[in-house]
Amino acid sequence: MLSETIYHLRDGVQVRKEKFGLLFYNYRGPRLYFVPTEDLLDPDFFTSCRKAGELVDSIEAANAWPRSWIENWVDRIMITLEQKGLIYGQSIC
C-alpha cells in the first residue's frame, strides 16, 4: 500500500468528474481514458496534495468496506494511472 504517496497529474493531463467516475484527457495521447471510480475518487485528489492513505481513510469512513479491500482498490487505480502516463507518485517518506 502506497499510503504515504501523493499523486499528481502529469503535464498535459486533465481530468474531470463523470457519472461513471473520472475521465482523463492527455494531450500527448492516447487522448481519453475512462476510469469507473463512481463517486469514490474526486478529480481534486490529484491537485490537493492528499496522501493515498488519506483517500483510503475517507472512503472507509463513508463506506462499510474492509480497509484492505479499499487499499487494494486504490493501489490498483493509482498503479494503472501511472502506467498509462497520466499521473506520477511522489513519496513523502
Partner: protein, 344 residues
C-alpha cells in the same frame, strides 16, 4: 473507446469543433462550410471569449478550430492565447496559406496542433481542388512550422483524385515531419455540388480500407468508422461522437451536432446567448441524436466496429437519419468481426 461510459452521458463534450469564421482566401470545390466571405453575425472577439470561458468552465478539453480559414480573423491568435490561458488544447485546421514565420512563432505552444489541408501531392492535383498557388504556399507553411517543431498533420480529403496519390502524400508528410490524416469527403457545403464529381466508389473504398490497414500510422480522425477494421480499432472512434463526445459551433455561435449537420433542423441553440450546459444536457436535437438507432445495422457482424457509420452522410445523400451509412462495406467486403470491446 469506452462506449458504455459514453452512453451513460458525459457532462460536457470532450472536444468542440468551432468554425470561427466563414471568411477564406481559398475557394476549395469540396469546402464543407461553403467558406468565402465573412458573413454578418459572426461572433465578435468578446463573444468568442465568452464561449471559451463557458466551455472552459465545463471542462471541455479541446477545441477543433476551423472555418473558413481561421487565420482570416484578425483576432484569431489572441483567441488562441485566451484558450491556452485556460489550458484548453487547440487543434487548428487551416489551409496553411497565411502561416509565415511570425505566425509559427506565435503558435509555438504544446497546446497547439496544426492540421494543414492538402489534397494532392503535387501542385497540379492539389491546386485543381484548392486553387492555383495553394500547394506552393502550403509547402512554405510546412517549412515554417517544422522550423518550430510544431506538431503538424497534413489533412487530405479522400476523393477519387486524392486516392491515387496517398502513397506520395505519406512521403510528403514524412519529408516535413508531419503526420498524414485522411478525412472523409462529406456532401455538405460546396461538397454537395462536387459530391458526384469527387466521391470515391465502393471499389476504391475497399482498396482504401486495405491501404489503411497497411498504413497504421495514418490517422483518420472520426471519419472512417464505417470501414474500420480490426487492426485499426484502437486508433479512433468506432461510432459517431456527435452529441456524445463532441458538437459544433458555427461562426455565428449556432450549436449543432457536428460540422456536417448545420441545417436548420439540427440547430440546438445559440452562443453566447443560450446556456451551453443546458443545450448539451437538454436540447431536444441532442437528445434525439443520442437516441438515434440504426436498427437495420444492429444484426450486422460489423456493428460494434461502426455502429452504423456516419449519420451526416446518410442524411445528405438520402435526407434521412437512422439509416445505414451509404459508404458501409459490409455487403461488399468481408471484414473480421470485433473480438471484444476495449477502452482507453
Amino acid at each position: 473507446m469506452g462506449n458504455q461510459y459514453v452512453d451513460m452521458g458525459l457532462s460536457a463534450p470532450v472536444n468542440v469543433t468551432w468554425e470561427v469564421t466563414y471568411a477564406c482566401n481559398l475557394s476549395c470545390i469540396h469546402c464543407l462550410s461553403d467558406g468565402g466571405k465573412k458573413r454578418r453575425g459572426e461572433l465578435t472577439t468578446e463573444e468568442c471569449m465568452q464561449v471559451i470561458d463557458t466551455l472552459s468552465e465545463m471542462k471541455v478539453f479541446q477545441f477543433n478550430i476551423g472555418g473558413g480559414e481561421p487565420f482570416m480573423r484578425s483576432d484569431f491568435l489572441d483567441l488562441i492565447d485566451y484558450a491556452h490561458a485556460r489550458e484548453m488544447v487547440t487543434c487548428i485546421s487551416t489551409n496553411g496559406t497565411l502561416i509565415d514565420d511570425d505566425i509559427a512563432r506565435r503558435l509555438d505552444s504544446p497546446l497547439v496542433y496544426i492540421q494543414v489541408s492538402l489534397d494532392g501531392a503535387s501542385p497540379d492535383s492539389n491546386d485543381a481542388i484548392r486553387g492555383k498557388g495553394s500547394f506552393r504556399n502550403v509547402i512554405k507553411a510546412l517549412a515554417c512550422l517544422r522550423k518550430r517543431d510544431i506538431e503538424v498533420s497534413i489533412n487530405t480529403v479522400l476523393t477519387h483524385r486524392s486516392f491515387p496519390e496517398l502513397d506520395r502524400m505519406v512521403a510528403l508528410a514524412a519529408e516535413y515531419g508531419a503526420k498524414l490524416r485522411v478525412s472523409r469527403f462529406r456532401p455538405s457545403g460546396r461538397g454537395k455540388a462536387s459530391w458526384s464529381q469527387l466521391n470515391i466508389g465502393k471499389t476504391q473504398m475497399i482498396a482504401f480500407s486495405d491501404w489503411l490497414s497497411r498504413h497504421l500510422r495514418v490517422s483518420t480522425g472520426d471519419s472512417f468508422f464505417s470501414i474500420s477494421t480490426e487492426d485499426r480499432r484502437s486508433l479512433g472512434l468506432n461510432m459517431c461522437g456527435a452529441c456524445k463526445l463532441t458538437c459544433c459551433i458555427s461562426p455565428e455561435g449556432n450549436v449543432y451536432p457536428c460540422a456536417f449537420l448545420q441545417d436548420q433542423e439540427f440547430l440546438a441553440g445559440r452562443l453566447p446567448a443560450d446556456d451551453f450546459a443546458d443545450i448539451w444536457e437538454n436540447s431536444p436535437v441532442f437528445h434525439s441524436f443520442r437516441a438515434l438507432e440504426i436498427k437495420s445495422c444492429e444484426s450486422c457482424h460489423r456493428f460494434d466496429l461502426c455502429h452504423g457509420g456516419c449519420p451526416a452522410i446518410a442524411y445528405h445523400t438520402q435526407r434521412k437519419l437512422g439509416i445505414p451509412d451509404p459508404g458501409c462495406l459490409a455487403n461488399c467486403v468481408s471484414i473480421k468481426p470485433m473480438a471484444a470491446e476495449v477502452y482507453q
